[in-house]
Amino acid sequence: MTFVEFCDASRVVLVAGKGGVGKTTVGVALADAAARAGRNVLLLELEGHSDAGRTFGVETLVYESTALPLDPDAADRPGHIDGRHLAPDDALLDYLGGHGLLATAGRLLTTGAIEVITTAAPGIRDLLALGKVRSLADEGVADLIVVDAPASGHARSFLNAPAHLAATAASGPVRQQADAALEFLADPSSIRVMLVTLPEETPVNETIETAFALDDDVGVALGPIVVNAVVRPPDGLAEALARADHTDARVGAVAAHLERSHEQRAQIQRLSGETGLPIVELSRRSTVMLDAADRRALGEQLAHGLGGPAA
């Protein structure tokens, strides 16, 4: 599969992973690469405010679409990127509006009636957010919608919400929403999930577990797993170290670093072996905030890993 084929394979790519593994970075890099490949992208932030907007120089994403500028030297006819933030209550209000209940919605919120229902059946907010993603995909607002999903423990309950609610509600509007969402999730041309992790034991365990749970319980298509912050020691380092003076603290530090890169390698192999999914590696960077150049470089690495080069 080339990268362009990857972009066109599903209308929605949901990027999921534990908080702190670089899920937002990967979502941003994917949006960047897809835009450079000529696709119009919607970057949709679902939970809490991340740095997604800031990497494009936009302080925070809001409910309304905001154009996110690619850098000026972008390729000839790049696509554009829009960013949106969808808070849980936004989807709920949209849904009520769509059911001719917008006038009542305010009152339902202020009386706390909505809270009763959403606490009793907490998946409803998730279900409606997923319904919103589906309707954006159906409206064709972009060639590709990149969703910065909730952190992965939560991504699992997020994606499980339709099945749970279908089991809870025997009929009625929630059941219809749940059934539609289940159909959407089961269709690889609609949505696929790209898990992001770090090459370390706990994140890898958690990713393996999430991959199996998503496959078994939700049946959603899984894309390649992105392993972030991979250390790549230079060739010949082990041989050079064998000849170096190990009483030198610098040599000790480099040797420990090489040791960790071997441990990383072992974790990546375990991830690949146990999930059977393709792996895309992104190398570790020393910069702290993602700037336009970083975004582009990461986008290129990602595009290269997902298929051919972005161009």
Binding site: G19, A120, N205, S286
Partner: protein, 351 residues
């Protein structure tokens, strides 16, 4: 860098907060070992411990009940227990302990909404973590409870958990729906019925019936939930509770830490200590960089130094931004913690 014990005397609860993948659970366990060596009787409540971590503590699996860790190898005066949170079991226990009758227990456990709640939909494990905290804090075997919270954002479901659970069973809509049975004014009831009918149009009548049935099943338990919630909220806000931020000098982790600290502040809470894990070379300035190295090694060293310098800037920035007075820097381990000796390496760096 600070030295000495990271915990002030008189601390009874430590809440470890941080993003996923920064070694939060290891930090919580290592702190437990360190405090047990100082003579404290510690229980670590963890959400989802890695297999290897349990092995390192000599436990052959985690259980809902607190299990003792054999600390003879590290010569501890105190003791260490580890308990894993099983939200469904805890919720069932809470219901059994506080329901008015066996019949009420049965009614709640059989309710579809209850089953749905305990089947792992968002938030429930966090409500239950606060119930467990209350239990463990009251347990005479322990004088220090260390909580390893769920990653980042969900940690706040935990902090908000007690209040949410109380509001949940004490909601005015629930009370007005039940009003006729309690003999409250009919006028109030008419409004409530209208609201319920509107909700029914939105989500479907059978879900509403289940929800009403669920709230009805909890009748009489609301005071207990409210009292326990207040107890946990007061404990968390009291000087006996310390909040420990655990992070690493990585971009994604930083953003999460800032978010966590901001949320703590909005609740009027302040972190006492920042633990920065997985630092490439926390003692960079102490390294003698004179003398020639083989060129490949030198290149690798220079790259490491650039990384370490960038991390040091991040750490300094984080300390300034979070306003945390006490910083603990922990070097990245060559290999994951495999036994108590490995745990001690981390514990020693924590102070």
């Amino acid at each position: 860098m600070s030295s000495g014990p990271p915990l002030a005397a008189g601390i009874e609860v430590v809440v470890c907060l941080g993003p996923g993948g920064v070694g939060k659970t290891t930090t919580a366990a290592a702190l437990g070992v360190a405090e047990a060596r100082r003579g404290r009787h510690v229980v670590v409540l963890t959400i989802d411990p890695a297999r290897r971590l349990l092995d390192a503590l000599g436990l052959d699996g985690a259980a809902d009940t607190a299990r003792a860790v054999d600390l003879t190898a590290v010569d501890a005066e105190g003791s260490l227990h580890v308990a894993m949170l099983d939200p469904a079991a805890t919720f069932d226990d809470v219901i059994r302990a506080h329901a008015g009758s066996d019949e009420q227990v049965e009614r709640i456990l059989a309710n579809r909404i209850y089953q749905n709640l305990t089947a792992g939909l968002s938030g429930v494990s966090e409500y239950m973590a606060s119930e467990r905290l209350r239990e463990l804090h009251a347990d005479p075997r322990f004088d220090l409870v260390i909580i390893d919270t769920p990653p980042s954002r969900h940690a706040f479901d935990f902090l908000d958990g007690p209040g949410r659970l109380a509001r949940f069973v004490d909601h005015r809509i629930y009370r007005s729906v039940l009003a006729p049975r309690r003999g409250v004014l009919r006028a109030v009831n008419a409004t409530a019925q209208l609201v319920v009918r509107t909700i029914a149009r939105v989500v479907g009548a059978d879900l509403v019936d289940d929800a009403v049935g669920f709230f009805a099943a909890f009748e009489g338990m609301d005071t207990g939930f409210r009292d326990r919630a207040k107890e946990v909220e007061q404990l968390l806000a009291s000087p006996a509770t310390a909040f420990l931020l655990v992070g690493s000098a990585r971009r994604a982790a930083m953003a999460e830490l800032g978010w966590i600290a901001g949320n703590l502040e909005r609740r009027g809470l302040r972190p006492s200590t920042l633990v920065m894990n997985r630092l490439t070379l926390p003692d960079l300035s102490a390294i003698d960089a004179t003398g020639a190295l083989p060129s490949v090694v030198d290149d690798a060293w220079r790259e490491l130094r650039v990384l370490a310098e960038a991390e040091a800037r991040v750490v300094a920035e984080m300390v300034a931004q979070l306003g945390v007075g006490d910083l603990r820097s922990v070097a990245e381990l060559d290999a994951p913690v495999a036994d108590l000796t490995g745990m001690m390496l981390v514990a020693d760096q924590l102070g």
